[in-house]
């Protein structure tokens, strides 16, 4: 699936100051029965968002109307656990384009990038600062500049560099997809197969 091109994003943020948000929280397993990629956003953070009677839990951030925007800001070690890409689909389908955290689980990071979600890893202190800004002013705007690899809290002018693999950066900026790339390599792959020792 080709991904959306990503360049510069300015947006308000939805804060989720919880550490170790695992993939079972992002999308509980009972919602993995679909055979398409659509509709997972409804069940993003399902058990935090809705109570047993499917009523929204008003204290949860996504149910709080003061918070909006396409950037999710979460505590350390986001996305640990399962390899289910449904977690990335749920985040994407809900409308987030960026997740900011001070640490990401490996597989989640790959899955996010493969779906046009930019995982932005910031320092612990930047994250603390960002959470407190958002709490003080829910409209706090953050600028994520992929070409420059910077993330900036505009009201404070506080900025930080973030890392991204140069290949993945290319892909995100141009909306390229790994599969197109691999398909273009078929000849080389066939050559490799013939030279395999075992």
């Amino acid at each position: 699936m080709p991904i959306e091109k990503f360049n510069i994003l300015k947006s308000a943020c939805v804060p989720l100051p919880v550490e170790n948000v695992d993939t079972d929280q992002i999308i509980p397993a009972r919602f993995l029965k679909a055979t398409s990629r659509k509709g997972f956003g409804d069940n993003l953070f399902r058990d935090w968002r809705y109570d047993n009677n499917n009523q929204p839990i008003s204290s949860f951030v996504t149910n709080n109307p003061v918070y909006s925007g396409s950037i999710l800001v979460a505590g350390k070690n986001f996305g640990s656990g399962s390899s289910r890409e449904h977690a990335a689909w749920a985040i994407h389908d809900y409308g987030f384009k960026v997740v900011i955290s001070s640490f990401f689980a490996d597989i989640f990071k790959n899955n996010a990038l493969n779906n046009g979600i930019l995982p932005v890893q910031v320092s612990e202190s930047f994250l603390v600062e960002l959470f407190s800004e958002i709490v003080t002013d829910p409209q706090t705007t953050v600028k994520v500049d992929l070409p420059a690899q910077t993330v900036t809290i505009l009201s404070k002018g506080l900025s930080e560099k973030f890392e991204i693999n140069p290949y993945k950066k290319e892909c995100m900026m141009n909306g390229f997809d790994d599969i197109d790339f691999l398909l273009s390599m078929k000849e080389k792959i066939t050559e490799y197969e013939q030279s395999r020792p075992l």
Binding site: M1, V18, E19, N20, D22, D24, Q25, P28, A29, R30, L32, K33, A34, T35, S36, R37, D47, N52, G75, K76, N77, S80, G81, S82, S83, R84, E85, H86, A88, F103, A105, D106, I107, N110, N111, N114, N115, N165, P166, Y167, K168, D178, I179, F181, L182, L183, M185, K186, K188, I189, Y192, E193, R196, P197, L198
Partner: protein, 466 residues
């Protein structure tokens, strides 16, 4: 020649191409798929008008979303049934071998791979399931992937992957009574946390690992992902070769000799350097149990839950949240806490040795009245072996029944859900909030500890019952 690690040897021999400043194009020897993470990948392939590039290198099973009772009848849950039917349709369309429901080879993907001799040393193996790391126990590079990556493998038999860093964890010495490989891995995760292995591929080594059986090694590699690692592997040795020999799809005759010669070269050179090396003593490890909502929150069963003051300041918030969910207090003793459910199964501990271990304790005892127990073999093969060996009889005499194989309560996608608020001692791999059902409270432990809970109705040190 430069000294290299086992991981380097396997990885480097599978690189088709290296993207400048980017990931490697890694050739995949064996791809495994199941019903939950593959349908969208097939849709992707079909939408591109592609065929599966090397269908003979993909193997399919239905395991995640299937009932563990009445498997001969149609699946009642409609969405689950559609997902399983979709898998059958996709496999038919693309000429992929499927060991579906009712097939004698059917079982949990990470149980059947090794059991059928499909998983072998030196291979690269991927599957859309994080516990693919299990296969590393046989000396292969095996890791879990997302659905986009499943699509990559279907389309090109390759995957784009940055090469991870390398870690070696050495465990030397002799394990104490009542301690098994599940305790080793829970112990390590409790030491380095669920993110301690992030970015690494881990080689497990040392005399305690060497002395483990093949299946016990699988339990260790299986849970390497729970410390955030990309995967874990163990150098193949006589135990490995002995295990593979004669299995359904294992090479034989001349092929076997050829393979064996190659497998014997698969080890880390003496002076190879790791990015990180950790050492533990087997004697320090006791029967472990988790008290919180991630696999790193584990303690020796005789210890107390840490006091708040003993917890790192940054982690206190999530520590409190965890204990609140579990309804435990800091400083509580785990021993003697009542248990409602016992789940024995999953790709972590659903193999024949796990059932033997469980049976060794329940033999001659009775299931506690307060306990609901789900004993779910990892495959049909395990199921029939349990019958042949007389384990089923032991279980039934003690008041337990054997279900049919599948992932079951490990992720609770089917009907096997632990009710909200109930405590379950589980031999699976994840104790996340709601993992075994909304509101379920999971305590991860070994089959021995699960057995001790099953016959006493509370958390009990298995060493006391051996």
């Amino acid at each position: 020649m430069k000294a290299t690690t086992l991981f380097d040897k396997i990885w480097d021999s599978h690189v088709v191409h290296s993207v400048n400043q980017g990931p490697d194009v890694l050739y995949i020897d064996q791809h495994m798929i199941h019903e939950v993470t593959s349908p969208q990948a097939f849709t992707g392939i079909n939408n591109r008008g592609q065929k599966v590039f090397r269908p003979e290198r993909t193997l399919a099973t239905a395991d995640h979303n299937i009932p563990t009772k009445d498997q001969d009848k149609p699946i009642r849950d409609e969405l689950s049934r559609i997902q399983v039917e979709k898998l059958t349709e996709n496999c038919n369309d693309h000429n992929i071998t499927l060991y579906g429901l009712g097939h004698p080879y059917n079982g949990i993907v990470h149980v059947i791979g090794p059991e059928l001799g499909i998983t072998r040393p030196g291979m690269t193996i991927v599957c859309g399931d994080s516990h693919t790391s299990t296969h590393g126990a046989l000396g292969s590079i095996a890791f879990g992937i997302g659905t986009s990556e499943v699509e990559m493998v279907l389309a090109s038999q390759c995957i784009l992957q940055p090469k991870p860093k390398k870690m070696r964890i050495n465990i030397d010495g002799t394990l104490k009574k009542g301690v098994s490989s599940k305790d080793i891995i829970l112990y390590i995760i409790s030491k380095i946390s669920t993110s301690g292995g992030t970015g690494y591929f881990i080689e497990f080594a040392g005399s305690a690992i060497r002395n483990l059986s093949m299946e016990a090694r699988m339990t260790i590699c299986n849970m390497s992902i729970e410390m955030g690692a990309r995967g874990g592997l163990i150098a193949p040795d006589e135990t490995t070769f002995e295990y593979i020999k004669g299995r359904e799809f294992a090479p034989s005759g001349e092929e076997w000799e050829k393979a064996l010669t190659y497998w014997k070269t698969l080890k880390t050179d003496e002076d190879a350097v790791f990015d990180l090396e950790l050492n533990y003593k087997a004697e320090d490890i006791g029967p472990m149990i988790t008290y919180g909502t991630n696999p790193g929150m584990g303690i020796n069963i005789t210890e107390r839950i840490p006091e708040l003051s003993e917890v790192d300041e940054n982690n206190r918030l999530s520590f409190n949240k965890s204990l609140e969910y579990m309804n435990f207090k800091p400083g509580d003793s785990m021993l003697g806490k009542p248990v409602d459910y016992v789940f024995v199964g999953s790709c972590t501990n659903g193999r024949i040795e796990d059932l033997r271990a469980f049976a060794s304790i329940v033999k001659g005892r009775k299931k506690a009245d307060s306990i609901t127990a789900w004993i779910v073999p990892g495959s049909h093969h395990v199921e029939s072996q349990a019958k042949e060996e007389g384990l089923l009889e032991i279980l039934e005499k003690a008041g337990f029944e054997l279900r049919q194989p599948g992932c079951s309560a490990c992720l609770a996608m089917n009907d096997d859900k632990i009710p909200a608020g109930k405590y379950s001692v589980s031999t699976s791999n994840r104790n996340f909030e709601g993992r075994q059902g909304p509101g379920a409270r999971t305590l991860l432990a070994s089959p021995l500890t699960a057995a001790a809970a099953a016959v006493t109705g509370k958390i009990t040190n298995p060493a006391d019952l051996i």
